[in-house]
Symmetry: D2
Subunit: 329 residues, 4 copies
C-alpha cells in the first residue's frame, strides 16, 4: 500500500518506467468540478522531458488519457483514472543494471525487497517517470485549490549551492559527465487559518509525507527551517498583530505559516533538498549479484544532469495532494 | 483523527497539559512481549522535567499506569492503554493567554480551528507534555525493536549553532530570559535491507510524518541531507561493495540508509531541527481577541530555555513508532 | 489495529474484562459540543448489568471517568478518552477455561491467535463488557447526531423466534439452565438523502462493519433483508413519489433507506441476529489443551440467559459510530 | 475514498458503465507471484454476460489488459493495474433515466449526492459492470490464497425461494417481464485457526464490508446466521473435540468458522441475500426531476431477470479481497 496517499482524497499512483502505461487513480474528488485540460497540459509540460537543454532527450509527450471519472471534462464523483501510455517499452538497455545495481538508485534496495522480481527496466516503479501521474493528480488538485483561493508555487532556490545563477551549475556538471543537486522552495498562498491537525496529521507531517514521495528528496524544512536551530526565541517568535484590514498576521514568518500543525493564515513556505541525479556518465564501483563480487558499472543513455528544474511542478503536485486532503471542499 | 499514527501498530495519543490524565493507546502489539518496566521508566526519565538545571522545574514523575493490554508485564494482544495522571490540573495561570495568544505557540491556530473551545491551559493538547505518552509508546517499541536487532539512538548535535559545547548556549539564553533551538541527530542501527515502501510509505515519508508530531520540529533531513544540494553525483553516490563478511555495504552513507524509501542495510541517519522554546521571559507583542487590537504579553512561570535535551528521547520514540509500523514482528 | 473504527471520527476501544480499566478514545470529535452527561448515563444504564431479572447480577456501575478531551462537559477538539474502572479484577474464577475453551466463545481462537498470551479472565478483550466503552462513544455520537436531526432507535424484534412475548422465552431458558438468541431491529430516522458512498464505504458496508463488533452478532440485513431473495422486482422495487411537502419518498421501504450505499431519505432499517449466550449452566464437551484430549466443561458463575436486551443500546452505539463517521459535522 | 478496500492489499476499483474503461488498481501484492492468466480468464467468464440464456445479451468480453505491476505474468511488487475497455460507450439510451430515476437503482441517491453531475449512463459507477474489475482482483487473490491452501467457493443456494430448481424461477419471471432475487452461499476452506481480529476488523466485519460492495446485496449471515436467533445455547454452541489427526474441530459449525472475529479452523460459511434486478420491463411509477412531479417510467433494453447466477464469482471475489487482506503472505 505504498503508492497511495490521503484520507479524504486518495491518490494512487501506478506504473513502471517501461510498463504498458503509468497512471493515477483519484478517489474522493468532489463531483461537478470542470478540469481545465489546457491548463493541466501546461502544468504537465513543465515536468516533461526534452523541453530544454537541461533535461534528458527522451521525448514522450505526457498526454494523459482519462479512462473514467469524468463526464466531458467535469468530475462525476466516481474515481478518476488517467493514464499515460509508455511508447518506449523496450528494456534491452537495462541488462547490465539487472546484475549491477546503480549507486544512488533504488536498484539494490528494490532487489532485496522484491526478491529479484522487481521490474528493473528504467528503474521500474522507482523511476522519476512516475512523477508524471503525480503531476496529473497535482495539476487537478491545484485547479481545485485555486477555486478556494489557494495558490501553490514552487521555484528553484539554488543548484549546486548557487542561488544567483543556478543553471550555470548544470552546464558545468554536464560537461564533466556529472550531475548536481539543488533546493526547491515552495510557497502556498491563500491558506485560511485553522487548517491542519495537531500531532501526526499536521500540515508539516502531511506535506513531508507527500514530498518525500518525489524521488531524490533528502530533506524538508518549513519557515526558517534548520535556521531555527541557531536562533533565539526572541528572534524566532513571530509576533502577532492586527493588519489594517482586521486580519491577524505575524510580523515575520519564521514559522512558515504553520503552528502546532495548523495554518496561521500566513504563507506556508517550505524548502526541499534534492540530491544529484545518481545516473552519471562516470564509471562507478558497485557489485555484481551473479558473480558475488565487486564490479564496475558504466551507465549509458542520456540522463538529466540535474533533476531540480523538472522537479519543481512535482513539488507543487505533492503539496497540492497534501493540502487538498486537509480542507473542506 | 490527528493523534493516531500507523497502519500495523497504531499509536493514539490523548490528553491535555492539565486534563485529568494524558496517555496512549497502542493497537496491534504482538502478544507475548514482556515489557521491561524498569528500562521503560529509565527511558521516560530521559524526557521528564526537573532532572537537570536545564529543564523546567515542574516535577511530575512520568510514571505510567497501565490500564490494559497486559497480563502481568506481558502483552496479551489486546490494545494497551497507559496513562499518566496530571497532578497539577489547575488552569488559573493561563487567564492571560486565553485572550492573548503566545507568539510561536499554537494558541492562535488552535483558537481558530476549535472556535474558542480549545483547552488553553498549558497549551492543552499541543503541550510538550504530550510527548510523555509518545515516549511510553516509543519506549515499548524500542524494546520490541531491540529483539530484532534494531537500535535507535539520538543525541544532541548542536544547540544555538554550537557543536563543541552545546549546553553553554543554554546557560547564555537562560541568563538573558531567552531561549534557543538546536539540532538532534538520530541513528538507527541494525535495519536489514529491504524494509520500507516506494512513494508515500517510504522510510523517509514515515519517519518524517512521525517526527513532525514532536512539537517545535521545523525540519528533517536524511543522510547528507540539505548538503546533497551542493554535491555532485560523483561525490554523493554511495558506491556498493561486498564487505568481508559477504554483506553488501556502501563506502559512504550520504543516502542515510534509505534508497527509494527502502532500507539499504546501512545505518539510517537523520537530523531534526528544533526551534527555540517560544515561551520566553521577555515581553512580546501579540493581539487581544477580546479587545480586537494589538497587545503586550508577558509569559510568567518557568519554562525550558531549550527543549532540545528533553526532546532527544522523543525523537527516538517517534522514529521507533515509524519503524515498528514497517517491519514484520 | 482491530479495535479502532472510522475515518473521520475514530473510535478506539480498549480494555479487558478484568484489567484495571476499560475505555474508549475518540479522535476527531468536533470542538464545542456539550455532552449531556445525564442523558449519556441513562443511555449507559440501558446496557448495564443487574438492572432486571433478565441480566447477570454483576453490579458494576458503568460510570465513565473522562480523562481528557473536554473542558467542563464540552469537547475541546482534542481526543476524548473515557474509562470505566473494573472494580472486580480477580481472575480466580477462570482457572478452568484457561485450559478448557468454552464452546461458542472466543477462548480457543484467541488462544491460537495470541499463542497462549491472551487474557483469559472473563473473556479478556472479547468480553461483552467491552460494549460499555462502545456505548460511551455511541451515546456521545447519538447526541451529536440528534443535533443534526438524526435519531437512532433499536428494539427487540424477537427472542427465540417469539415476537409477541419475547421475554417469556428468557424465562423458559433460564429455568432450563440454557440460553437463547434473538433479533434486534434498528431504525435511523432523519437521514438526509445523499449520505454514504458507493462500493466499499456505503452505508450498508459501514454499518455492517461496526455492528459485527458487537459480540454474538451472526447476521445483518437491511430493509426487506433476506426476504428480498424471494421477491420479484415488481414487488421489491420501491417506487418514488413526491410527498405533499415536496420531498421525494418511496411508497414502500424494502431498500431500507439505502440505494447504492447512499441514503435515500427514507428511514434506514436493519436487523441483527444474535446467537444465544454461549455460557450456559449445562455441562458441555470441549478439549483440554494441557492433556491434549477431549474434556468436559462446566461453566460456573451467573450469566445472562439472553444477551439481546442489553445489546439493544450497543446496536444503537455501533450504528451511531458508523453514521457519525459519514456525515459532515 | 469509497472504491478502495483493504489495509495490507488495497483494491481500488474505477470506471463507469460507459466510460472509456473500467479497471482496478491493486497495491500491496507480494512480488514474484505468477498469475495463471487462463485460469483468471475462466474466472472472469463466470461473471461475464451473454454466456447463457439467463443473462443479458450485452456481449463484451471481459478481457483485462494489464497496464503495469507485472513482468511477464509475474507480479513485480509495484501496484498492478488492469483495465477492460468499454466498447459500448454510447449513452443515448439513458436520456429518460437522466430525468426519471429508476426505482430500486442508485439513480436518485447518486443524483442527490453528486448534485446532478453523476454519470447516468448505464448506472455509471454503480453499474453491475463494475464487478468485472472486482473479479479481476478477486481472481488473482483466489490464486494467491490457493497457494496457502485456502479455497473460496460460492454457489446459488436458492432463487425466488426455490432451492430444488432455482433456475426455473428465472424462467418464470423472464416470461412475466419481471425479475427475482436469491441467496448465494459461500464456503472458505483451508483457513488456519487464529486469523482475524477482535472487534472492528474481525472476519465477519471484513467480509461483510467487502460483500456489500456487490450491488443488490441486502443481507449477510454467517454459520447458522439468522437461525441462531431461534436457537438455544445448548443447540447453537459448537463443541470442540480433537480429531483423529490431532487438529481441533467442532462437532457442528453453527459459528461458521468464526469466533470472536477470528477463524476457528472450521470452514467459513456465509450466505448473501440478493434483491431482484431493479430493471424490469413493467411500467413503474417514479418522479420527474425536471417537471417536479410524479411520472411513469418504462425501462427499455434487455436486463438480467436475475443477477444471482452472475454474482456468484463476485461474492468469491469480495470474500477473497477480505481474506487476502488479513493473512500473512
Amino acid at each position: 500500500m505504498s503508492s497511495g496517499y490521503g484520507n479524504r482524497i486518495r491518490t494512487t499512483i501506478f506504473g513502471q518506467s517501461h510498463s504498458g502505461a503509468i497512471g493515477v487513480t483519484i478517489d474522493g474528488l468532489p463531483a461537478g468540478f470542470r478540469i481545465d485540460m489546457e491548463e493541466l497540459q501546461e502544468f504537465l509540460n513543465r515536468r516533461a522531458p526534452g523541453r530544454s537543454k537541461y533535461t534528458t532527450s527522451r521525448k514522450e509527450a505526457d498526454k494523459p488519457e482519462f479512462l473514467c471519472g469524468l463526464v466531458g471534462d467535469t468530475t462525476c464523483g466516481a474515481p478518476l483514472t488517467a493514464i499515460i501510455r509508455n511508447t518506449n517499452t523496450r528494456s534491452g538497455d537495462y541488462s547490465n543494471i539487472r546484475d549491477i545495481p546503480r549507486p544512488g538508485h533504488a536498484d539494490y534496495t528494490a532487489h532485496i525487497k522484491y526478491g529479484g522480481y522487481e521490474d528493473v527496466s528504467g528503474g521500474g516503479h522507482f523511476s522519476g517517470r512516475l512523477t508524471a501521474p503525480l503531476c496529473i493528480a497535482g495539476g487537478i488538485y491545484k485547479q481545485i485549490l485555486q477555486t478556494k483561493g489557494i495558490v501553490i508555487e514552487a521555484g528553484i532556490l539554488e543548484i549546486g549551492g548557487n542561488r544567483s545563477d543556478p543553471f550555470s551549475e548544470i552546464e558545468k556538471v554536464r560537461e564533466a559527465g556529472d550531475s548536481v543537486g539543488g533546493i526547491i522552495q515552495c510557497r502556498i498562498r491563500g491558506m485560511k487559518p485553522g487548517i491542519g491537525e495537531p500531532m501526526f496529521e499536521g500540515l508539516e507531517n502531511k506535506i513531508a509525507q507527500a514530498v518525500f514521495a518525489v524521488p531524490a528528496v533528502k530533506g524538508i524544512e518549513f519557515g526558517a527551517g534548520f535556521g531555527v536551530a541557531e536562533m533565539r526565541g526572541s528572534e524566532n517568535n513571530d509576533e502577532f498583530f492586527y493588519d489594517t484590514d482586521g486580519t491577524v498576521k505575524t510580523k515575520t514568518n519564521n514559522h512558515g505559516g504553520i503552528l502546532g500543525g495548523i495554518s496561521s493564515g500566513m504563507d506556508i513556505i517550505f524548502r526541499v533538498a534534492f540530491k544529484p541525479t545518481p545516473s552519471i556518465a562516470k564509471e562507478q564501483n558497485s557489485i555484481s549479484y551473479s558473480e558475488g563480487r565487486n564490479a564496475k558499472l558504466v551507465i549509458t543513455g542520456r540522463h538529466d544532469p540535474c533533476i531540480v528544474p523538472r522537479a519543481v511542478p512535482c513539488i507543487e503536485a505533492a503539496a497540492a495532494a497534501a493540502i487538498v486532503d486537509m480542507i473542506e471542499l
